[in-house]
């Protein structure tokens, strides 16, 4: 089975800190994603990457950056954490080929609940 691992389940940081959220997948997937989940808003796409060193902005990239130096690892960076970034962060990966096969879906990590105080 595909495994997507997020380094922390819960994280508490202070306003202004630089925060790194790490995500690793073990299935050689090209595509990796960072979502933010908030009540009433669902999952919103922050950034995604379709290859090493490649990144694309999602719907809410402001205040975030990402890094993908290796295929299996995709990091989300909060340069200067703010209280409005308190949220659940979900990482996902996929192998999208456009062929309609059973792997045409996202595989998710178990999430990191970040609190910024």
């Amino acid at each position: 089975d595909v495994k997507v691992t997020q380094s922390s389940r819960y994280l508490v940081k202070r306003t202004g800190e630089k925060v790194f959220l790490e995500c690793v997948q073990d299935m050689d997937h090209e595509n990796m994603f960072w979502y933010r989940q908030d009540p009433g808003l669902g999952l919103r796409l922050i950034y995604f990457s379709y290859d090493v060193k490649m990144k694309e902005k999602g719907d809410i990239p402001e205040g975030y950056s990402v890094s993908r130096e290796k295929k299996e690892r995709f990091s989300l960076i909060l340069e200067s954490a703010s209280t409005n970034q308190t949220s659940m962060y979900l990482c996902a990966s996929s192998l999208f080929l456009g062929t309609g096969g059973s792997n045409e879906k996202l595989f998710f990590g178990s999430g990191t609940q970040l609190s910024v105080l």
Binding site: N31, F33, Y35, G40, L41, G42, L43, R44, L45, F48, Y50, E56, G58, D59, M88, L90, A92, S94, F96, G98, G100, E104, K105, L106, F108, S110, G111
Partner: protein, 112 residues
Amino acid sequence: AQTVTQSQPEMSVQEAETVTLSCTYDTSENNYYLFWYKQPPSRQMILVIRQEAYKQQNATENRFSVNFQKAAKSFSLKISDSQLGDTAMYFCATMESVDMRFGAGTRLTVKP
């Protein structure tokens, strides 16, 4: 980018009964995929069912089935014989190309 709307923030159903969750979407693409994901209290996102837009036949997975109306851009999920373990958040999503977009979710409670 595509958008997804789930108009029912919360729903409840009695155990063993049937419930339908609604989803509408907007996309400019002709080739795309549609999904329903379930998120129980454990927070792990679990794929419930998927549908290729080019297929007219509605997808089914055991007690879960969809009603896919491509012209209306509607993709509802029907859960038959509801079980207590179906209690969860349910998210509708569309995938064009690489990225996937989600709706706001519906919190489903199955009552004993």
